[in-house]
Symmetry: C2
Subunit: 203 residues, 2 copies
Amino acid sequence: MFSGAQLSLYPMTDDFVGVILSALGALDPYRPQFRIETDDLSTLVVGPPELLFPAMRDLFVAAASGGVHCVLSATVSRGCPGSPDDDICTPLSGIGADRPLEDRMRDARSTVAAAETTGQAVAAQFSLYPLGADGHMDEIWGCIDFLKSSGVFDREKNFCTKLRGDAGPVFATLSEAFLRFGAPEGHVALDMTVSANSPTPVA
Amino acid sequence: MFSGAQLSLYPMTDDFVGVILSALGALDPYRPQFRIETDDLSTLVVGPPELLFPAMRDLFVAAASGGVHCVLSATVSRGCPGSPDDDICTPLSGIGADRPLEDRMRDARSTVAAAETTGQAVAAQFSLYPLGADGHMDEIWGCIDFLKSSGVFDREKNFCTKLRGDAGPVFATLSEAFLRFGAPEGHVALDMTVSANSPTPVA
């Protein structure tokens, strides 16, 4: 299976280059297990699916820690038929996406409940796309049920679900949605936006 | 059919609020045909599918015209089973997504060739998700063939396709990909990133 993310970091400041460069060190612990490539639009990280969201969490918390309004936007994918298998992407342990939907919802809740907090408040929204499968809406509804009991559920919006809370459980929730819903060896994509320090009042 | 977009504009400047507010006027001509709602993460526009990309083009060109590095990120959707039909979304004319793949590729190319230029250079990348359908990769490969002959194709990347050129044909290409590929009444989502004035050298 091939898994990875195209991610972009947007600090809303004249010094956006400085903020991005100083946050990149947060990826250092992950570099031995990732292939990383950057161009003018995004950074590709390819590696084990369980490490994608922890890496993005650490990068984003580092960028937001200075108080600047920052957004992380990413397209995350596993099992894309257009990409070759890659040993670097082998899951560290069984993802468990082949178990009954109810079991997966319970495991996802447990993982989020155990997530460490970071001290960084964030808002996030994301869409999950289980591709090439009948019954894709069953997986989406099951995932939404999990989200509603995740402790960081904010609201349903058109085309996406919104989360709010500490970056620790929020990124854990995004990771669980990505890992546990959709066919185990299927093609699953997730697009997400995470924001911190926005001056817009919370509705 | 329900169609719309969750869009966000990210100007990389201390004055990001000013840039966003001054660009919003570009949406005025579209307001009579759209429902528009904003929160701290994104702006929802709901309306006819053919007008979504022209509206985003005009908004983005207005924001980028001052020379600031700006990014527009959006999740665009049509036919989402979770959303009710809405008269405001009725296509202005037949989308033509029920015609053979070869015909749709040709029509898409013609539309892009006729797109007016704006004078604003952009880079973009996007992913197309035809959901709940067998053969979703056939539609994706057909769309990629169209993209390669669109005149604004830059390269294939993992999980997405990159475009480069004037905002006119680039947004027209994104619109054609969204309107003409995937089942006519099916659930199709597209996630996209458009960037202007990046200081990162073009590879």
